[in-house]
């Protein structure tokens, strides 16, 4: 791979207006629910109201008889899918669990679990008809806290799930589906060498990604067996694969059109609605649209795991970490398959700790099947580790920044799970924090405090394909398959523009459906600007190779004689930029079409450090964010505004996670706050401006040094805020969210010497 890393770029680092911007500010952009063919029917899903129940019978006759109803379905209309595991690129999925999650079979495992669906001439009739379906439930005992679900006498969700540990499995079924263990060095010896040891336990509530657009789908099952699906999805190809597998139809019979998507954050990779809408469509002979209700989004999609974590760290009096131990229990919701792995791998990932032990458990319980929320599993782990790091620093009498600098992971540091880091930018992030205006501005005032915390996320590569068709005026149509959730059409186009010597506006990026581009993995995993951008760069190179051969004819020289500098071709006294040469070549000979496929198999290793100032109202427990700075290594910021946007957005999600957001369950295991009113996400009025400092420690695995940035920003905030609260009022919070009732109680206990 050619390295093109330089100090100055023509296009990278500028801030052009995004190509899809005009459509998005005028209401023209088409999101899934906006696609409304004339013949469309509307679907509605009936959901189980109990936290855990056996389904004894389903009687759909009243729904079928209702005027205006076009089709009705239950799980009986879905084929049996074996326990096959499909590779979705970004994690695997067990297809049997997926299918059972889409429509419950003999057991409903969480409140909101879908049991039947109706399509009708309008959504109101569909809802009425769905509510007329008679389902006989036998409610079962339920469990909604991870530590309770691990107990021997906990209600068992599956009698065919066993604890897998090191490739072996337990003899008895269990709610614990996975046990992981990582060891490096000798922790006992390490703690003996420590002068100071801190150990704490932490609890974290279940939290949702909170995307503003609910899941939506339009499915049209044609009489020839071809199925077209319009979906709000982070990945059209993984959507297609899952849909085809669950329906047991050939992959080539399914086309997925990724519409514009109103947020995903990891929650729109697994499918929920597509097979249901497709079957309803087949039975009705019409396209069927289903849009999830907001409470169903909370109760029946994929929040991210609540957890219990214990962390112990030891250091010498000089501030060198000698040992680290972590015990983690992560929820996986109703089915196995969760975020324990990355949680275990990330918990100590920021530090060089010679002796470490990480022990982790993944646990089924009566909540929706959990999914990724930005850096999945890492935020929870960082809350625990960075809180203990802060306490350790306090005991050692040094700042947390100093402690982190003394132990920062760098090139050559070995992580507890084994791999060694290549060139990474954590040290640079800490230096940027140390010299930042925020860190060096004294904070004054009562009940005010400053906190700092750091975080890491892998960032992946995976597969992308692009095609670049050159127009007769030398502009380029860039066809790609990466859903644009945050401006990536433009960051991808900019990388092509850079290599070709064009402007961003000369590239016309289009996101197309699964029939029109080669396989492309999801927009997620911090991979899109990195990998699809790399593909755009390579497609640009492909065009240059083709044009070089053609120019050699034009200029009567050998292709090897042609130099390309900043996109300008020259040889033999001739010179032409891309547009000049392209328009010349268009006149005679084949059209110019470039292509590239990539599958970079590296992590982009994004580190970040956050600084936050808070003020605590000790009468109410309310925390006000006074100032917030996000520092992160982007490798190379292609479009700085959108990099800043990722940093700011992720940080604010983390602030919500820290201060208010949680799934509140009552004694019956039912979620009581499944609305935006009571699931309290940050509003504009809750926040100050979010400052950002972009560090650029070039990634050796990308031509322009790009690292993925999207996920890391959600990792540090809860810990940074916990550390700030401690600095402000001397109270160490060990539970998320640190909402007013919890903080107030902790303040009272602290004041009473408890």
């Amino acid at each position: 791979m050619t390295q093109e890393i330089k100090q100055e770029y023509r296009v990278l680092g500028t801030r052009p207006i995004r190509h899809d911007g005009a459509d998005k500010v005028t209401g023209k952009a088409i999101y899934t629910a906006d696609v409304k063919p004339q013949s469309m029917a509307s679907g509605f899903i009936l959901r189980n109201p109990h936290a855990h129940a056996r389904i004894k019978s389903i009687d759909t006759s009243a729904a079928e008889a209702m005027e205006g109803v076009l089709s009705v379905m239950t799980a009986a209309d879905l084929p049996d899918v074996t326990d096959k595991v499909a590779d979705l690129g970004e994690g695997t999925v067990n297809l049997s669990y997926l299918s059972h999650n889409i429509l419950a079979r003999d057991k409903a495992l969480y409140r909101g679990h879908a049991v039947a669906a109706v399509a009708a001439i309008n959504v109101h009739i569909a809802e009425e008809a769905a509510n007329a379906i008679k389902v006989e439930y036998e409610p079962l005992e339920s469990v909604t806290w991870v530590m309770d679900a691990m107990k021997d006498d906990a209600p068992l969700l599956h009698d065919d799930v066993f604890t897998k540990s090191g490739g072996e499995q337990s003899e008895q079924p269990s709610n614990v589906s996975v046990h992981l263990n990582f060891q490096q060095g000798d922790v006992q010896k390490g703690f003996e060498e420590a002068d100071v040891v801190v150990e704490r336990e932490f609890k974290m509530a279940t939290v949702h990604q909170g995307y503003i657009e609910p899941h939506a789908v339009l499915a049209d099952w044609n009489q020839d067996g071809r199925i077209k699906v319009w979906a709000s999805t982070q990945g059209a190809f993984t959507c297609r694969q899952q849909t085809a597998e669950v329906l047991q139809v050939p992959l080539s019979h399914v086309t997925v059109v990724p519409c514009e998507i109103g947020g995903g954050f990891g929650g729109k990779i697994a499918i929920y609605l597509e097979p249901v809408a497709a079957v309803l469509s087949r039975k009705a002979g019409r396209p069927v649209q289903i849009v999830m209700r907001r409470n169903d989004v909370f109760e029946a999609t994929g929040p991210t795991p609540g957890a219990f974590i214990r962390v112990k760290l030891g250091a010498t009096k000089d501030g060198k970490l000698t040992a680290g131990e972590a015990w983690l229990a992560y929820e996986s919701g109703a089915y196995p398959g969760g975020m324990l792995g990355p949680g275990c791998m990330c918990v100590f990932s920021c530090y060089d700790i010679p002796n470490a032990l990480v022990d982790g458990y993944e646990v089924c319980l009566n909540k929706p099947h959990i999914k990724a929320y930005r850096a999945p599993g890492a935020t929870q782990a960082a809350f625990a580790c960075e809180s203990v790091i802060d306490e350790l620093a306090n005991e050692l009498g040094i700042s947390i920044l100093e402690l982190q600098q003394k132990n920062a992971a760098k090139e050559g540091t070995r992580r507890v799970d084994g791999p060694v880091y290549p060139r990474v930018g954590f040290v640079e992030c800490l230096e940027a924090a140390a010299s930042s205006d925020h860190w060096n501005t004294p904070l004054e005032g009562e009940n005010r405090g400053r906190g700092l915390a750091s975080g890491f996320w892998f960032g992946c590569g995976l597969k992308s394909s692009v095609v670049a068709s050159v127009n007769s005026d030398g502009t380029v149509n860039l066809t790609e398959g990466s859903t644009d959730i945050g401006g990536t059409r433009t960051s991808i186009a900019m990388q092509m523009a850079e290599v070709l010597g064009l402007e961003s506006d000369d590239i016309n990026p289009r996101v197309v459906d699964t029939d029109n581009i080669g396989y492309t993995d999801v927009t997620g995993g911090s991979r899109t600007t990195f990998a699809t951008g790399m593909a755009a760069y390579e497609a640009g190179r492909d065009l240059q190779r083709q044009m070089t051969v053609r120019a050699a004819d034009l200029w009567e020289c050998k292709p090897e004689d042609i130099q390309i500098t900043a996109g300008v071709f020259s040889a033999n006294g001739n010179q032409a930029n891309f547009k000049e040469l392209a328009t010349e070549l268009f006149k005679a000979g084949e059209p110019l079409v470039g292509r590239a496929t990539v599958a970079p198999e590296c992590s982009t290793n994004g580190f970040g450090t956050h600084i936050v100032d808070v003020e605590v109202d000790t009468d109410t427990g309310k925390v006000t964010i006074l100032r917030y700075t996000v520092i992160q290594d982007a490798g190379k910021a292609v479009h700085p505004s959108y990099v800043e946007g990722q940093l700011q957005g992720g940080a604010v999600q983390g602030i919500g996670w820290a201060l208010n957001e949680e799934y509140f369950f009552d004694g019956c295991g039912e979620m009581r706050n499944a609305s935006f009113l009571d699931y309290r996400m940050p509003t504009a009025y809750d926040l100050p401006m979010i400052d950002t400092i972009i560090v650029e420690a070039a990634n050796p695995d990308h031509p322009y040094g790009v690292r993925g940035v999207g996920e890391t920003p959600i990792v540090p905030p809860p810990a940074a805020i916990a550390n700030a609260i401690h600095s402000a009022i001397g109270v160490r919070m060990e539970e998320l969210p640190m909402s007013p009732p919890r903080l107030w109680k902790a303040i009272q206990q602290n004041q009473n010497g408890g």
């Binding site: 590779d87 695997t92 090191g166 995903g264 792995g341 930005r374 997620g524 599958a599």
Partner: protein
């Protein structure tokens, strides 16, 4: 020679051996040679003839999705890690 790291949870099978040097070209050869030395280890890492879907191979700094045919260079490290996704 390639340095192969034994996952913590499999070190009982290797009598505590944490890492060993092997002369191999790809992951399939790594697993075959491990199985020769430590019988039973293959079925802990694989399902049938493929790597278990819950495991990802890291060669050097490269997280591979190619499973058994992943090439392994001399002077590189091989780690078996939990498969991770992102969001």
């Amino acid at each position: 020679m390639t340095l192969v790291f034994i996952p913590t949870q499999l070190r009982q099978l290797t009598n505590g051996v944490e890492q060993l040097e092997l002369d191999v070209r790809n992951v399939r050869q790594v697993i075959e040679q491990l199985e020769t030395r430590f019988p039973g280890i293959k079925e802990r890492l694989c399902e049938g003839d493929e790597l278990s879907p819950s495991i990802q191979v890291c060669v050097g700094q490269t997280l591979s999705s190619r499973g058994m045919i992943t090439k392994v260079a001399a002077d590189s490290e091989v780690h078996f890690l939990p498969a991770i996704g992102g969001g």
